[in-house]
């Protein structure tokens, strides 16, 4: 049974593996095993986060020292499989990087590896999600052009989010990911470290077992996360529906315009006006097409990212709860057992430190994440609203210029009548 922490060696270095395939990987390491330049003591770590807190306003102005792009999807066919690689180009001013520019080739699996490593080392930080492995609905092929493009953009966003994170951007794994020619030698052996988004019922039960009191602030956070998740799913659904309706509207519009053109062919005086209307309808169709593209390519992916973020948040909260549960179980053992007091006390202290670290990490990152979320969604909705406004302005202008041509004609006609 996992989650009991009863293996040998109470140094706290343990990997918790679920017996099912559903792996949930994190260490009980109190130090950052990936050798980052941050100090080890919890105290100074807390200070680190406090600083970040106060600098919330400054975060926005935080100078970017990473410029990363994900591009050029290429298909590779081997005897065993077919897969896509992406070109990852990094430009950086970081002193701990040997060069200022790198270009590597990475596949989706590599991104999964990076993210799972980050999760392992920072169990209660909020790490931006990766695009899903498969798309459930519809017959979307993995190698469908639009699927690849959507994935490429999501991978690009992922790397940018990581590289902007005050803690994660210093990860050794990130550095390896961005710079190493070959990633394979860096990937550890042993049972797969693929981190999955979901959890089994058992691991959920495990984390809840033994949890006596969860601090109020985290209960509030948990409730918020539940609500936020529901809202994001709804907004995502509504947006998808709007795109669908717009596409159907566009289809009909494309058939509507030509009815005017066809009619114009059997008219003489009226032909001009009919063609004018046909032209207006066609131009409006083009504008509609642009609007649809914006929704699909800008708004929807952002929303979808946050749907996945909500799931990440749930996972993070569960992990935090589990860490607390571990502490409480051990603490109870300490209080109830008479022997082994010294050893147990040491263990309990280590776990207490661990919970404090985890909580602080989460608190700090929560603020950062929430601020980022507000900024991202605000920007996405704002650009969409602007796009909408422009759409209506352009359509209005199209019809207005048609009216001008008609009014000119009317004046000509009137002059003609008076003259005759």
């Amino acid at each position: 049974m996992s989650g009991q922490g009863d293996s040998a060696g109470f140094t706290g270095h343990m990997l918790d593996l679920d017996e099912d395939d559903d792996l949930e990987v994190f260490t009980k390491n109190t130090s950052l095993a990936d050798g980052s330049s941050l100090p080890n003591s919890p105290g100074s770590m807390v200070n680190q986060y406090r600083l970040e807190d106060e600098d919330e306003g400054l975060q926005a102005v935080h100078t970017k020292d990473f410029f990363i792009t994900v591009s050029n999807p290429e298909s590779h066919v081997t005897a065993v499989e077919t897969f896509i690689t992406y070109k990852v180009v990094t430009r950086t001013t970081r002193s701990d990087f040997d060069s200022s520019e790198y270009e590597v080739s990475r596949r989706y699996q590599d991104f999964l590896w990076l993210r799972s490593r980050l999760e392992e080392n920072h169990p209660t930080l909020i790490i931006h999600p990766l695009p899903e492995k498969f798309v459930m609905k519809g017959m979307v092929e993995r190698f469908n052009e639009s699927f690849i493009e959507t994935r490429r953009k999501a991978l690009h966003r992922f790397l940018n989010k990581i590289s902007e994170h005050p803690v994660l951007s210093h990860s050794e794994h990130l550095k390896v990911f961005l710079t190493a020619e070959e990633l394979a030698p860096h990937k550890k052996q042993g049972p797969g470290f693929l981190s999955r988004m979901g959890e089994t019922m058992r691991s959920v039960a495990n984390s809840v077992r033994g949890l006596k009191t969860r601090p109020g602030e985290f209960t509030v956070m948990q409730e918020y996360v539940e609500d936020f998740s529901n809202k994001m799913i709804s907004v995502d659904k509504v947006t998808q529906r709007i795109i669908k309706e717009q596409k159907e509207y566009l289809d009909e519009l494309k058939q509507y315009g030509p009815t005017y053109t066809q009619w114009a062919e059997s008219e003489d005086e009226l032909a001009d006006s009919l063609r004018g209307v046909a032209n207006c309808v066609e131009q409006c169709s083009q504008e509609t097409e642009e609007q649809i593209s914006h929704l699909s390519e800008v708004l929807l992916p952002t929303l979808h990212d946050y749907v996945l973020c909500a799931e990440t948040l749930k996972t993070v909260m569960r992990r935090r709860d589990k860490i607390q549960a571990d502490f409480e179980t051990k603490n109870e053992a300490l209080l109830s057992r008479k022997d082994d007091q010294e050893a147990l006390q040491e263990e309990v202290n280590a776990l207490a430190d661990r919970i404090e670290l985890a909580d602080n990490a989460l608190r700090g990152d929560w603020k950062r994440w929430h601020s980022g979320m507000r900024s991202d969604l605000r920007s996405a909705f704002l650009t969409t609203a602007e796009k909408n406004m422009k759409y209506y302005e352009k359509c209005s202008a199209v019809w207005e210029s048609f009216l001008l041509t008609q009014r000119a004609e009317t004046c000509q006609q009137k002059d003609g009548d008076d003259g005759s």
Partner: protein, 428 residues
């Protein structure tokens, strides 16, 4: 809902009362007294009401009636304007009037009535004849019909029209004219297939044009209805944003106000489509009017064809009768006939019999000549009248439809301007 006392229709401007050019043709002389009815009288269909009653089969039915109001514009001897007159008419009575006018003036392109049943309906629009929006649009269409008839140089002076507008006993008057029988025989004749030997080029072109007009307007209407349906869907789905944003705003501190405001805008946006599309139905009605006009135009062409055909038949008949007379008189058989053969085989008939037959033939020939003269005159009259009428119709059509297209553009612009630009502020 009363319309104001100005003789304008909702969507077209009627020509000022001009005196049409003089003509020696006898039917056009009807117009020579100068003005149309609309110059002397204001007409409107002011209201619509629901009524119940027993129909011809004794069953209870609900139907709509329309209030026809008229007022003479010439002030009376005391200098004051006369009081308005009004009476209630059913749709079926309008149909009767139109049917009468079509039979009486076969070369006139009869103004159409608004549709009997709602067609080209998109899914949210009611197909119910009792639906208040439908009734209202029908009221407008009926008024338009009357205004068009009353401003027509030929139709407007008709007495039965005057009865329809002013008297309760108009039904008796219209049935007294005996038009029904003529209408029935025309319908029968028109539904038969016949071929004209020398079709008038102008009419052939016109008929072809009417087919084109019918086909194009109905395609346009069908496509427009589908577009309307889809646009409705787009707007309404945005209403879902309204709900979600409102709920979401409740769990956010910093974003709460922005989300609330965005939610309200989404609701307003979703609600705005109903009025937009209702207004667009008026545009659809204008196109529908010309769809029906195309049908009326086609009928005029067909009636001409029938007249032409009847003339050809009468002429052919006359020719063959004359030939028969010649044969009888001279004894020379030019054409093969059974009589001729039997004569050859069994001997000719007695002179007395021949005389008798000749006499009958002469009478028939005289009759035939009269028929031909009549039909020729009818044809010529029809051609001249119809030709002028079609010119008039073409000018009216070009003007009306151009205005309709302009109105459509204005509607589109107003729809674009309706979208609140303050929705961008709400997002922040």
């Amino acid at each position: 809902m009363h319309t104001t006392w100005v003789s304008l229709s909702v969507y077209i401007n009627f020509p000022p009362c001009k005196i049409p050019p003089l003509s020696t043709n006898k039917t056009l002389q009807m117009v020579e007294d100068g003005s149309t009815l609309l110059c002397r009288m204001e007409i409107c269909v002011a209201e619509a009401e629901k009524r119940s009653g027993k129909n011809a089969m004794g069953m209870q039915e609900t139907f709509s009636v329309y209030l026809v109001e008229t007022r003479l514009t010439d002030s009376g001897p005391d200098g004051r304007n006369p009081a308005p007159d009004c009476l209630w008419r059913r749709y079926s009575e309008f149909e009767l009037l139109r049917s009468y006018l079509m039979v009486t003036y076969p070369f006139v392109v009869a103004p159409p009535l608004p549709e009997k049943r709602a067609e080209f309906v998109w899914h949210k629009l009611s197909a119910d004849n009792m639906d208040p929006d439908f009734v209202e649009r029908r009221r407008v269409g009926l008024e338009n019909f009357l205004l068009r008839v009353a401003s027509h140089p030929v139709l407007s002076n008709n007495k039965i029209l005057y009865h329809f507008l002013t008297e309760h006993g108009w039904r008796e008057a219209v049935y007294d004219t005996g038009f029904q029988a003529k209408a029935d025989s025309r319908i029968r004749a028109l539904s038969a297939t016949f071929r004209v030997r020398n079709p008038d080029k102008g009419f052939v072109e016109m008929k072809h044009y009417s087919d084109e007009l019918q086909s194009h307007t109905s395609q346009l209407l069908r496509a427009r209805a589908r577009v309307a349906d889809r646009l409705y869907g787009v707007y309404k789905v945005h209403g879902n944003y309204g709900r979600v944003f409102s709920e979401w705003s409740a769990i956010e501190k910093e974003m709460g106000d922005g989300l609330q405001s965005a939610g309200h805008h989404m609701d307003a946006y979703a609600a705005s489509i109903d009025d937009i599309l209702e207004e667009e139905e008026h545009y659809a009605d204008q196109i529908k009017e010309y769809l029906s006009y195309a049908e009326a135009l086609r009928t005029v062409c067909r009636k001409h064809e029938l007249t032409q055909f009847e003339l050809e038949v009468a002429s052919q008949d006359l020719i063959s009768k004359k030939q028969q007379r010649e044969e009888l008189a001279t004894g020379i058989v030019r054409t093969f006939s059974l009589k001729g053969m039997t004569n050859k085989l069994f001997g000719q008939e007695a002179p007395v019999q021949r005389e008798a037959r000749l006499k009958v033939l002469e009478e028939l020939i005289t009759e035939g000549e009269d028929t031909v003269k009549e039909k020729t005159a009818e044809c010529e009259e029809h051609v001249e009248g119809a030709w002028l009428e079609m010119q008039r119709f073409k000018e009216q059509k070009d003007k009306d439809l151009r205005e309709a297209l302009i109105n459509y553009a204005l509607m589109q612009i107003s729809m674009c301007k309706k979208v609140p630009s303050s929705s961008t502020c709400s997002a922040s």
